[in-house]
Each structure stands twice: as structure tokens, then as C-alpha cells.
């Protein structure tokens, strides 16, 4: 696990540093006289350049809220975030700053059906990202688009397609190419392979591993699937109810889980000879949502 530095600012060698991140969603619950909901509670991590951190947990564990805070879609209630040594805990001042943040950190979502513009051809989608995030002239952009498509295993024919003419796996490749366009420091992948068929999932996981090795981009890989995290991450955080219950190198955590919750997650994965009754410490068999 990459150690968390004392002073994340100016640590350009680290792709992401998050310190004591907190997010409470309180307005409605306060009105009803309930305590605020702490979606993310004191979460800290650091990712080296070219590193890959998995964040795992079940629904409601806060993993997507962390992704949204990293991208700036949700403002943290407390704590700091730095990307490539530059603080981004506060809203961007001015469009140049906003663009730079977008350029440094990109996102790939679960469902490429909804994250791509249905009326925009693949080539237009990539060109837009390049115009936004690079200074390239039109000739260079054409060259770069060809390179990006080749990177993700698509060809000229796909470039002229609309999203609806592509399969789910091809669409996710387009989303990855778009994220790579501006050569970001880090890509946040939120359940990016969860909606794909098994045979396609393996292709995209191999692609992600190859791209990280080739480009040195770092990943924040958010997933509920520990087997997938094992394949693409160096380190992992296990979240439960917004708190980190266990963290460390992926092999360490998955081979020698220390926390009971991690063990339960691992025991829940169907394998040869799996018995679902073995999953101990049943979650909440009450009829109320906590």
C-alpha cells in the first residue's frame, strides 16, 4: 500500500492522495430529525503514478460517493484530495483550472449506453475530447484518434459508427479511449466491467492492464467484484458503511483477510464446491433498512 504522505501538496510523484475524506448527506434526514447519513467517513489513501487502487464494498458502502468526490461531482464535507500534487478539495476557480482538472482525471462509468452521446460518432466523440484537453491541430488529432482506437482494439470502421451500432464491449472501449485522450494522470473506473458479458469482461480487463503498463496511467477501480479487483489492482480498500475496514496489497488482503467483513465477502463468491450456507454473520435480516 502506498503510504499517505504528510504533505500531499507538491508530491507530484503521487497520482492521487485523499486524506480523511468525509461526506454527509444530511438535509432531508435533518429535517426529519434524524442524524446525518455519513456516506463516507474518514477515508484516506494514496496512489502512486501508474498504480492501481481497488475500492470494494457493497451497495451503500460509499464507493461511488468517493468516485464522485474525486471527479468533483460531489463536494467533500471534510478532508482533502490532491491529484498529481495539486489540491482539488475546493471547487475550481475559472475555466482553465476546471479544464486542467478534467485533463488530469477522467472517468469511465458502468454503462456505456448512457455515458456516450447517442448522436455522436466515435470519431467525433474522441475529437471533442482531444480539442478540449490538448493543443493538437486537426491533422495531429486525426493521427492521435487513430492511435487511441488502435490502443483499445478498435478500427476505422468502428470510428464511423454511432454508439448504437456497437456492442457493449466496443462501447466500453470507446469510453476508455475517450478517457485516455488527454493523457490523464488517473482514470476513475466505476463498475466499468460489471455490465459486460463474461467473455467480453476478460477482454476489457486485459485491455486495462495493457494500457496501464503502456501509458503509466493510474486507476481508481471501483467494484463489488473481488475477483476482478484481483486482476487489475495493486492495492485495495475494503469499505463497509463508509469506513475502510481493511486495506493493503491486493494479494495480502485477499489471501489473508484480517477483517471479518472481508472474509464474508470472499466466502460469498461462488466457486467449485461453494455452499451458500457457509456465509456467516448474515447481514441484516430485519425488514427495516438501517
Amino acid at each position: 500500500m502506498t503510504p499517505i504522505p504528510e504533505a500531499p501538496r507538491d508530491r507530484e510523484d503521487l497520482a492521487v492522495v485523499a486524506q480523511s475524506l468525509r461526506k454527509s448527506f444530511d438535509t432531508q434526514r435533518r429535517r426529519q430529525g434524524q442524524p446525518a447519513l455519513l456516506a463516507v467517513d474518514d477515508v484516506s489513501f494514496a496512489i502512486a503514478r501508474g498504480g492501481s487502487l481497488g475500492i470494494v464494498g457493497e451497495s451503500g458502502s460509499g464507493k461511488t460517493t468517493i468516485a464522485r468526490m474525486l471527479t468533483g461531482l460531489v463536494r467533500p464535507s471534510g478532508g482533502t484530495i490532491a491529484v498529481a500534487g495539486r489540491d482539488r478539495s475546493h471547487p475550481a476557480r475559472g475555466s482553465a483550472e476546471r479544464r486542467r482538472r478534467g485533463h488530469e482525471l477522467q472517468m469511465v462509468f458502468q454503462d456505456p449506453y448512457t455515458s456516450l452521446d447517442p448522436r455522436q460518432r466515435v470519431v467525433g466523440c474522441l475529437d471533442e475530447a482531444l480539442r478540449l484537453h490538448t493543443e493538437l491541430g486537426s491533422k495531429d488529432r486525426v493521427e492521435r484518434i487513430r492511435e487511441l482506437l488502435e490502443h483499445v482494439g478498435l478500427d476505422e470502421r468502428h470510428a464511423r459508427s454511432l454508439p448504437r451500432e456497437l456492442s457493449g464491449g466496443q462501447r466500453q472501449r470507446v469510453a476508455i479511449a475517450r478517457a485516455l485522450a488527454g493523457a490523464p494522470v488517473v482514470i476513475v473506473l466505476d463498475e466499468a466491467v460489471s455490465a459486460l458479458d463474461v467473455s467480453i469482461q476478460a477482454q476489457v480487463l486485459n485491455l486495462l492492464n495493457r494500457l496501464r503498463a503502456e501509458t503509466g496511467v493510474a486507476y481508481v477501480f471501483i467494484s463489488h467484484n473481488l475477483a476482478v479487483v484481483r486482476q487489475v489492482c495493486d492495492d485495495v480498500l475494503v469499505l463497509q458503511h463508509g469506513r475502510v475496514v481493511e486495506s493493503g496489497a491486493v494479494d495480502e488482503v485477499l489471501d489473508r483477510p484480517q477483517h471479518e467483513y472481508t472474509r464474508r465477502l470472499l466466502a460469498s463468491i461462488p466457486t467449485v464446491g461453494w455452499d451458500p450456507h457457509s456465509v456467516s454473520g448474515r447481514a441484516d435480516v430485519t425488514s427495516r433498512i438501517s
Partner: protein, 342 residues
């Protein structure tokens, strides 16, 4: 004992933009009373459509061929009223998203008792008692409280239990469960699977369990039918499917699943993408992606035959049983890596 469910040469075509497109090409299935059959496949393989054909719930304009018999009665000859009666009393269905299947403005108690009271003429207070009983059976801790709750007050896992309870109320012989745990968290999935396997034993239920997860299928079922492009390519005892897959597609599916135990530099992947039933041309539907494909595989469609203990639709199944899959041919998979787009 005669089979509870028999599906023979099922073919289904759906109208798409003025033409009929094949979604199920030729499906044969049998299910004994009390047996659990898992249907495994990727999206578009036809597993859900098979379930809908059994229920008589195909979209309008669907062309159906072949024969479906339930408890000896031919369903293709049944009137819509008879089918309705069947769905009411003998075949229950559980879907992936309980939130889409349960009316959000009714309390759980009203949802559970609706069919009993309105269709079967059970007095309301008796119906409520029975509803409380089945909620207990699906291990909801405070069933009386649950009856008065609205669907939005329950988590996805709890709501899926309510859905199972609703199905149990009609005391069916057969449950069709279409990806019932796909939308749930893994720990919740384990609980629901444990519940379903306890229930099937206690109530001697037959079940068709549809999933894309081979290992989950093996945990819940007695037999597994693997579907690809609208055909069943392999039917085999659950334990065999994981340890000795005979169809190359089953084998490749198992290998390409991310391994929880080890990190691989390159995960074995199936090149290309799964095709739809209407895209199948001459030969075996899987041959363009198959590492064992020979000339005949692209020319003639393979017939389903008994190989070892399973039914397999593959020209080379007999050779593969002889140990072909441990020969040097595995290398061809690694060679093809990375070159293909999904």
C-alpha cells in the same frame, strides 16, 4: 416418473422492423419433478426467452414452433385462460429486479394477498395469515411489521424475499427464476441462494434457474444447460460442468472468468463477441470464436449427442472427451489475445 416439463425443438421468432428474427433456434429441455435446472448463457443467448415461452409470455407477434408440455399437457394447444390458470397455481416466476415487479404504492401485505383474495377467493384475514407464514418461511424477521411496509422501505434483498414469498403463496410445482440474484450484493446473493436451495428441498420444488454465472449455477442446480446464440450447446450434471466441460464454449466461459485466487498476466479470453441467434449462418454457431474449430464446423451444424454423461452439440465432443482439451491446442488461445475487439 414422467417429466414435469418437456421442451422439444422450441423455436421462437420475433418481429423486428417488419421481418421475423430468430431468437431461439432449437431448444430441448426436460425437467423432472423437484429437479433444479440452471440455464446459463451470455446476453442474447435466449435463456430468458425460453422461460417466457414456457410461461406463455412472449411479446406480441412472436412465432413459436416445437412443443412445450407441462405435467403431460401440451401448452401450445392451451388457451390463454388455461395458461393464466397455470401461472396462477402451478408455475411461479421470479425476476431480476423485484422493484420493477412489485407495485410501489401497495403495502407488502396487499401485494402478497392480492391474488389469493381476488383470484382464489380466500378471505382476507386468512390470506394475511398465510402471507405472514410465507414471510416467515423466507426468513423475514418481523413478518407482521413487514406486511404493513411499502416496497421502498425494504432493501433489494428483502424485496426479493418478498417476491419469493409471493410465488410460494400459490404453492407452485415449478419456479422460473430469471437472474434472481444478479442485482443483489454478493453477501445478499449468498443468503437468497441458501434460502432458495432450502425451500426447494423443503417443498420439493422444481426450478429453472437462469443466470450468466456458471459457478453460481453449479451451486444451486442439479443440471446445467449452457446456451449460446439461441441453442442449448451442452446439458450436463452441475458438478461436471465446472470440472469437465465438454463444449468448447463452456470451457472458454470458465477460463475467462476472473480468478479470485490468482492474478493472471493475461486472462484467457474468448475472441470476438457473442452473436445473436439470427446471426448464425452455416455450421456451428460458436465456430468463429472456437479454438478447436475445423473445416466441418463452419459447414455443417453439429447435432446434439450424448457424450460421456452430458448432451453436447459439438462436432468434436467425442474427441475432446478423449483428452483433446489437455493437448497443445491451448496455445492457440494465447496467440489470439489482444488482437480481437469486443
Amino acid at each position: 416418473m414422467s417429466p414435469l416439463l418437456e421442451v422439444e425443438h422450441l423455436r421462437v421468432q420475433l418481429p423486428v422492423g417488419g421481418e421475423l428474427r430468430s431468437v431461439i433456434r432449437d431448444v430441448d429441455l426436460t425437467l423432472e419433478p423437484g429437479e433444479v435446472l440452471a440455464m446459463v448463457g451470455e446476453s442474447g443467448s435466449g435463456k430468458s426467452m425460453t422461460a417466457r415461452a414456457i410461461m406463455g409470455l412472449l411479446p406480441p407477434g412472436a412465432e413459436v414452433g416445437g412443443r412445450i408440455a407441462f405435467d403431460g399437457a401440451d401448452l401450445s394447444a392451451a388457451s390463454s385462460r388455461q395458461l393464466r390458470e397455470l401461472r396462477l397455481r402451478r408455475i411461479g416466476m421470479i425476476f431480476q429486479d423485484p422493484r420493477a415487479a412489485i407495485n410501489p404504492v401497495h403495502r407488502i401485505g396487499d401485494f402478497l394477498t392480492e391474488v389469493l383474495v381476488r383470484e382464489l377467493g380466500v378471505p382476507r384475514s386468512d390470506a394475511m395469515k398465510r402471507a405472514e407464514g410465507v414471510l416467515q418461511e423466507v426468513r423475514i424477521r418481523d413478518p407482521e411489521h413487514c406486511l404493513h411496509q411499502y416496497p421502498h422501505e425494504l432493501s433489494g434483498g428483502m424485496l426479493q424475499r418478498v417476491m419469493i414469498a409471493a410465488v410460494l403463496l400459490s404453492e407452485p410445482d415449478l419456479i422460473l427464476a430469471d437472474e434472481p440474484t444478479t442485482a443483489l450484493d454478493v453477501t445478499t446473493q449468498a443468503e437468497v441462494i441458501a434460502l432458495l436451495s432450502d425451500l426447494r428441498r423443503a417443498r420439493e420444488l422444481a426450478m429453472v434457474f437462469i443466470t450468466h454465472d456458471l459457478e453460481l449455477a453449479a451451486a444451486i442446480s442439479d443440471r446445467i444447460a449452457v446456451m449460446y446464440a439461441g441453442s442449448v450447446v451442452e446439458t450436463v450434471a452441475a458438478a461436471e460442468a465446472l470440472t469437465r466441460p465438454l463444449h468448447p464454449y463452456t470451457e472458454a466461459l470458465l477460463e475467462s472468468r476472473p480468478d479470485i485466487a490468482v492474478r493472471l498476466d493475461v486472462i484467457p479470453q474468448i475472441s470476438g463477441r457473442p452473436i445473436a441467434a439470427y446471426e448464425v449462418d452455416a455450421g456451428c454457431p460458436f465456430h468463429p470464436r472456437c479454438r478447436y474449430a475445423e473445416e466441418q464446423c463452419s459447414l455443417t451444424p453439429p447435432k446434439t449427442a450424448l457424450v460421456g454423461t452430458g448432451l453436447v452439440m459439438c462436432h468434436r465432443a467425442q474427441e475432446r472427451l478423449g483428452g483433446l482439451h489437455i493437448s497443445g491446442e491451448q496455445n492457440s488461445l494465447a496467440d489470439g489475445l489482444g488482437a480481437q475487439a469486443g
